[in-house]
């Protein structure tokens, strides 16, 4: 919050980067877990 108000750009960039990283990795893990939980689900087109 203080970083946003004083426009501390490196810190904000770092926060944005880590959020993006966490979201991407989390979604990737979730996608690969679909296949583990239910073996009928396979990647690929229709």
């Amino acid at each position: 919050m203080a970083a946003g108000l004083r426009s501390d750009v490196p810190l904000l960039l770092g926060i944005a980067l880590f959020t993006a990283l966490f979201v991407s990795v989390g979604n990737m893990i979730a996608d690969s877990l679909y296949g583990v939980i239910d073996p009928r689900i396979k990647a690929g087109g229709l």
């Binding site: 944005a16 959020t19 979604n27 679909y34």
Partner: protein, 266 residues
């Protein structure tokens, strides 16, 4: 009512919510100009018999303004939830067509999910110039990723069903399979998803308006009322903030309950 009757509970919840919404919309039709009428002899009047929920700094009745704000929120939330459900559904359907398109849609979802909602909302609403239309578009454009992920996962599972594979093997096109076999299965998910998006849309609309990036201050929106109330909070005029906030809370909770009941019933 026991938990063995999810359909009955859903129907009950649906009836109550529908009644409230119809009352809300009808009240706007009946009230006419009441939310804008000023009474200068009754400025900042506390809640009482004459002024049910009190009046604001210009002597406008707070109950009329709260109802008008809720009705406005309802329309904005409805349109935004509908639009973002449509976006989610079409993107999830596109993602099913091929692995490459799926990667593209996943990238889009991840990008939108990793940016804080409110900042994106503010940027889009500001870029579109504010106003009701801009708020609706901004909320619709930012709220679809979570629903799109759910629909996409559901489609992944359905894609391997025997009848889908037989249909493909018999030479039906991918579009035909998508339309005829897959999308009908998603209707309950879309319904519940839209109902779950609706409270989010309303809350974000109010937050956006509260911060001054949303609806114009001349409209009796909930966010405008709350922002006004903030200025008079120090003077002890509590009713300005409490009643619009309570109205918003009730509406959000009502729709939240309705969607959770519907999810169990469908």
């Amino acid at each position: 009512m026991s938990q063995a009757q999810p359909r009955l509970r859903a129907a009950f919840s649906l009836a109550v919510t529908a009644l409230l919404v119809i009352g809300l919309v009808a009240s706007q039709w009946l009230l006419g100009d009441a939310p804008r009428q000023m009474q200068f002899d009754a400025r900042l009047a506390p809640p009482g018999v004459d002024h049910w929920l009190g009046t604001d700094a210009l002597g406008r009745e707070l109950w009329a303004r709260t109802l008008a704000g809720l009705a406005l929120s309802f329309w904005v939330g409805c349109l935004a939830a509908l639009l973002s459900t449509l976006i989610a559904l079409s993107l999830a359907a596109i993602a099913t067509l091929s692995a490459r398109l799926d990667a593209l849609v996943s990238l889009l979802i991840d990008t939108l999910l990793s940016v804080p909602h409110l900042i994106l909302l503010m940027l889009i609403a500001f870029a579109l110039g504010g106003g009701t239309q801009a708020v609706i578009i901004a909320v619709a454009v930012t709220h679809w990723p979570s629903l799109a992920r759910v629909l996409r996962a559901e489609l992944w599972q359905l894609r391997q069903a025997p009848y889908v594979r037989i249909s493909r093997a018999l030479g039906k096109s991918r579009w035909f399979v998508l339309h005829g076999h897959l999308l009908p299965h998603l209707i309950p998910h879309c319904l519940v998803g839209a109902l779950l998006l609706f409270p989010h849309a309303i809350l974000h609309e109010a937050a956006l308006t509260f911060l001054g990036f949303g609806l114009s201050p001349s409209q009796p929106a909930i966010g405008v009322l709350l922002a006004d109330a903030m200025r008079y909070l120090n003077g002890g005029y509590w009713w300005l903030g409490v009643f619009p906030g309570l109205g918003l809370l009730l509406m959000v909770l009502g729709f939240e309950r309705l969607s959770s009941h519907l999810r169990r019933a469908l």
